[in-house]
Symmetry: C2
Subunit: 193 residues, 2 copies
Amino acid sequence: MRSERRTKKIRDVLERRQPDLTLVMENIHDPHNVSAMLRSADAVGIHEVQLVYTTQKFPRIGSKSSSSANKWIGRRKFSSIDECYETLRTEGFQIIATKLDESARQLYEFDLTRPTAFVFGNEHAGVTETAADQADATVYIPMMGMIQSLNVSVACAVTIYEALRQRMHAGGYDAPKFDGNNLDELIREWLKK
Amino acid sequence: MRSERRTKKIRDVLERRQPDLTLVMENIHDPHNVSAMLRSADAVGIHEVQLVYTTQKFPRIGSKSSSSANKWIGRRKFSSIDECYETLRTEGFQIIATKLDESARQLYEFDLTRPTAFVFGNEHAGVTETAADQADATVYIPMMGMIQSLNVSVACAVTIYEALRQRMHAGGYDAPKFDGNNLDELIREWLKK
């Protein structure tokens, strides 16, 4: 019984996974921020994130505990933004870097039902110039208060939950996005975790 | 010049403040969570939060630094949920407790342009039964992943940013919500901070 419930839960989650939504994490330093971002990513159904660590050492991410989201989010590592973006473009993603520059558009103006990769940068330095310049667009979260910044894990959650909102509304969680063979294969993989 | 810029910034922020949106923080334990929640609250224009600490000691909140949101968010303390809710109801708020119970409705179904108070509970215990039972409604954030919870400060940001989204769309930040006299008085108060 326990095993049937587990299989059902894994199937349900995989049927809602959004392989067409991802994060690029560029030099995010604090392991707590990385973990919080992966937890939010799991919650909105992100299947895999992209890690680009050029100025920072790759953070240790524990992934043994089932109660941690770390275990349920795939990670691809890239040695440069160029390499990462090229791969994502081949896969059809629009690449949106989170940076308040002159051409940045507000979060709620984007169509996030399209295949979308959001780029988040280091806590202190933000996304690199390369990451911003080579993205398809830059995005900012509206802020109405005295303090003009949010913690990166909070900004990430607000951003990807807007993608969830739009996708729920458009029926994006109603049918599996993996085809049947891939889905079965993933279920088998996850059952072994 | 510096002082003119400061006056303008304070006026701009106060003109966007949402006295009809608030948080009830019930026994939130970790000061980092409290600070993160106040930072998000400032960002969406919340003017004041309600603190109900019955099982936990009230956390120390530093509010001297201008770079901290703590300084710019008013705080009212209550010794019970009853007292807090009674005050909020007199002021016209709908009270929505964040709890996944049988009658909970999904975040995106609520009209958050109405005067709204969101109740967030302790990190481990969640909102108390009293706080949930006596609220007008309970709300949950959709979660599609393996892990069925979010950090309280992340949940808070996602929730109140949905209020910001709805209010921006409805023009809720386009005109001051304080009347002229109150606005001028608040500007004078904030200039002294």
